[in-house]
């Protein structure tokens, strides 16, 4: 029983990932349980750059889980450095983490994206992320009323 899983990405590359690292992904874990004997898995929607980043994260955190004595501080440092990547890569990583069901990575990336949305006005957000404004002024009034109803 090999301990390496061959992960094929959308752009034709194959990454060799140690099995326990790959199991950080709940999706892969499930897939492996059902397709026993196979050590290959293909992802048509995840490219190699994204996958490499995901593997990098999983490798580190898998090691952290196995070993004792790695400081909280160091983990935080890794996470902060890790998540400091160009926006388009960040977005692919977060969609990949969502699909692959890697909770910690997902939370980390979502928090990062949320921090880029924080404190901005709707106009600024639309400009930054190229979102079309399809709301009428009447809608805005309704939305403000609805928004006042939201609570913790």
């Amino acid at each position: 029983m090999s301990q390496i899983i061959k992960v094929k990405t959308s752009d034709g590359e194959t990454l060799d990932v140690p099995k326990n690292v790959a199991m950080e992904s709940a999706h892969i874990k499930r897939a492996m349980e059902f397709a026993s004997g196979s050590d290959e898995i293909k992802f048509d929607d995840i490219d190699s750059n994204t996958m490499k980043k995901v593997v990098e994260y999983c490798e580190y955190h898998n090691r952290v889980n196995q070993q004792e004595g790695i400081q909280e501080r160091d983990i935080k440092q890794f996470d902060n450095a890790f998540v400091n990547m160009p926006n388009n890569l960040l977005f692919s990583v977060v969609t990949a983490a969502h699909y692959l069901e890697i909770k910690a990575l997902l939370d980390l990336c979502c928090a990062k994206i949320a921090s880029t949305l924080k404190g901005k006005s709707p106009e600024e957000i639309r400009a930054q992320y190229n979102i079309e404004n399809d709301l009428t002024p009447d809608d805005i009034a309704d939305i403000k009323t609805e928004a006042s109803w939201l609570y913790q």
Binding site: N87, N88, F91, V94, T95, H98, L106, C110, A111, I113, A114, S115, L117, K118, G119, K120, S121, P122, I125, R126, Y129, N130, I131, E132, N133, D134, L135, D138, D139, I140, A141, D142, I143, K144, T145, E146, A147, S148, W149, L150, Y151, Q152
Partner: protein, 481 residues
């Protein structure tokens, strides 16, 4: 405008804006004879007669994101920021509407008839707060449209601290400040004397509120008598008029309900409360303060109910039975028995303003109660009966304000509540100056807050000593509340 979003099979309730031709236009679109259209689609967001559900522009960076993922990102933001997000585009608004779990409709701007369409747009509601004056009308709407509902609360004009389920000292402190301000503003409207200045809001909740600077002169802040009728609690005198039948509806249709505020419900009886023992009801926070028609039977039902035969434990965490002069020691004994048999994880017991209980009665919240000789002779502190007595081992918040508890009973109760964190004893006329001493000697290690307001018989000196020895927050304003 949100009414234009309703499916055509539902009557337009505020349809003054909806032109008839548009309605007819919708009908053929949806009345395809042999296709089953799932309900979700019919309730979907419609911005106008035949427009499709909003999609994000394909060049947007967020285009490939699924809705769940988008909301997960929003969930890392503060509430104010989420409100801003809902103004960015129609898609984001829709995502927030369908994923945000908590809604507060008590602002007064929404008409009861419009609530149905609102609850249909906000389809993942878990926590809901609705205006108390419309509770009876709205309850069926809520039951029908919120299958995932976990918590149902009502607006209480007085912001009564007793309706709050919190075990958090800071939160209670803030609530208390609000309550004081509410009463002051209410009092200043109804009294002719000059009003006292409002409590400074800058006082941090961690510090005990400063003694009123205009102590005896604060006539406008009408000193409330210790034993207050429920009606006096609600300045607007508005009772919650939910009938038993609607309660049954709610319990059946919202199986995930864990928190319900049934305080000041003038029509709920034991029958209504008995519905909570139906099927999968998992009620954890129940407030029955001031619901004058319930009897001891309700209390017993709530405490003895098991959620499953295997789990032999009632999940009840908060029980509020303040302002219920019709309850007897049977209720108190039920609390004691349930705790003794480890049949409950009760953390908060709110018993204030129940003047019918004598100090001895109150000791029955510990199973077995205190022997008469224990209470009569203060010198005799023997614990002969301790073998048969079991502690209230989970209780963290105990509210005995406005009751007839005396020093001995207090001592007794304190010695059997080892996990107590919050002790509320305002307006207890039978406590004496010894009370502070009693608390200091017997209170649990975990005690964080003691409320001794409205007890002028307890001197500042005693309180200071208590504060020093125990290092806790003490509320000790001498005037009202």
């Amino acid at each position: 405008m949100s009414d234009t979003e309703e499916g055509t099979n539902q009557p337009q309730e505020q349809g003054s804006d909806e032109p008839k031709p548009a309605e007819e236009e919708k009908k053929p679109e949806e009345a395809k004879p042999f296709r089953f259209v799932p309900r979700q689609v019919k309730r979907g967001f419609r911005r106008g007669p035949a427009q499709p559900a909003p999609t994000i522009h394909s060049s947007s960076a967020f285009a490939p994101f699924k809705d769940d993922l988008m909301y997960k990102i929003f969930s890392f933001l503060e509430l104010d920021e989420i409100r801003v997000m809902s103004e960015v585009c129609a898609k984001w608004r829709e995502i927030i509407r369908t994923h945000h779990p908590a809604l507060d409709l008590t602002g007064g701007t929404i008409k009861p008839l419009a609530v149905r369409s609102v609850l249909q747009s906000f389809s993942s509601i878990k926590k809901l707060k609705i205006p108390i004056q419309h509770s009876a009308i709205l309850l069926s709407t809520v039951a029908d449209n919120c299958p995932n509902l976990e918590s149902l609360l009502f607006s209480h004009p007085a912001g009564d601290i007793n309706t709050n389920i919190s075990q958090n000292v800071a939160e209670l402190g803030t609530l208390l400040q609000e309550e004081i301000q509410n009463r002051e503003s209410h009092a200043s409207h109804t009294d002719t004397q000059p009003s006292s200045s409002p409590q400074p809001t800058s006082t941090s909740p961690e510090v005990s509120p400063p003694p009123e600077s205009n102590g005896e002169n604060s006539v406008s802040a009408r000193p409330l008598s210790p034993i207050r009728s429920p009606k006096a609690i609600l300045p607007s005198g508005v009772f919650n008029k939910i009938p038993d039948a609607k309660l049954k509806d709610l319990v059946t249709k919202c199986p995930k309900l864990t928190t319900v505020d049934l305080s000041y419900c003038s029509m709920v009886t034991d029958k209504g409360v008995s519905h909570f023992s139906l099927g999968s009801s998992d009620l954890r926070y129940v407030n029955l303060n001031g619901s004058l028609k319930i009897t001891d039977k309700s209390v017993q039902t709530l405490l003895q109910r098991n959620i499953s035969p295997q789990a032999n434990v009632s999940p009840l965490i908060f029980l509020g039975i303040a302002h219920n002069p019709q309850l007897t020691t049977l209720s108190l004994k039920a609390i004691g028995i349930a705790c003794a048999q480890s049949k409950t994880s009760l953390k908060s017991v709110v018993l204030n303003h129940n003047p019918q209980f004598t100090p001895h009665d109150l000791t029955y919240i510990i199973k077995g109660g205190a022997g008469k000789e224990y209470l009569d002779s203060k010198a005799n502190h023997s614990r002969k009966q301790s073998n048969t007595l079991t502690s209230l081992s989970w209780v963290e918040r105990l509210d005995l304000s406005g009751t007839n508890i005396n020093d001995s009973a207090l001592e007794f109760i304190l010695s059997f509540t080892p996990t107590l964190r919050i002790l509320l004893l305002s307006h207890c006329p039978q406590l004496t100056t010894q009370a502070a001493e009693v608390i200091t000697s017997n209170a649990s290690q975990l005690l964080e807050l003691v409320d001794l307001r409205g007890n002028p018989q307890i001197l500042q000196g005693d309180l200071e000593e208590m504060k020093c020895k125990l290092n806790i927050v003490v509320w000790s304003s001498p005037s009202y509340l």
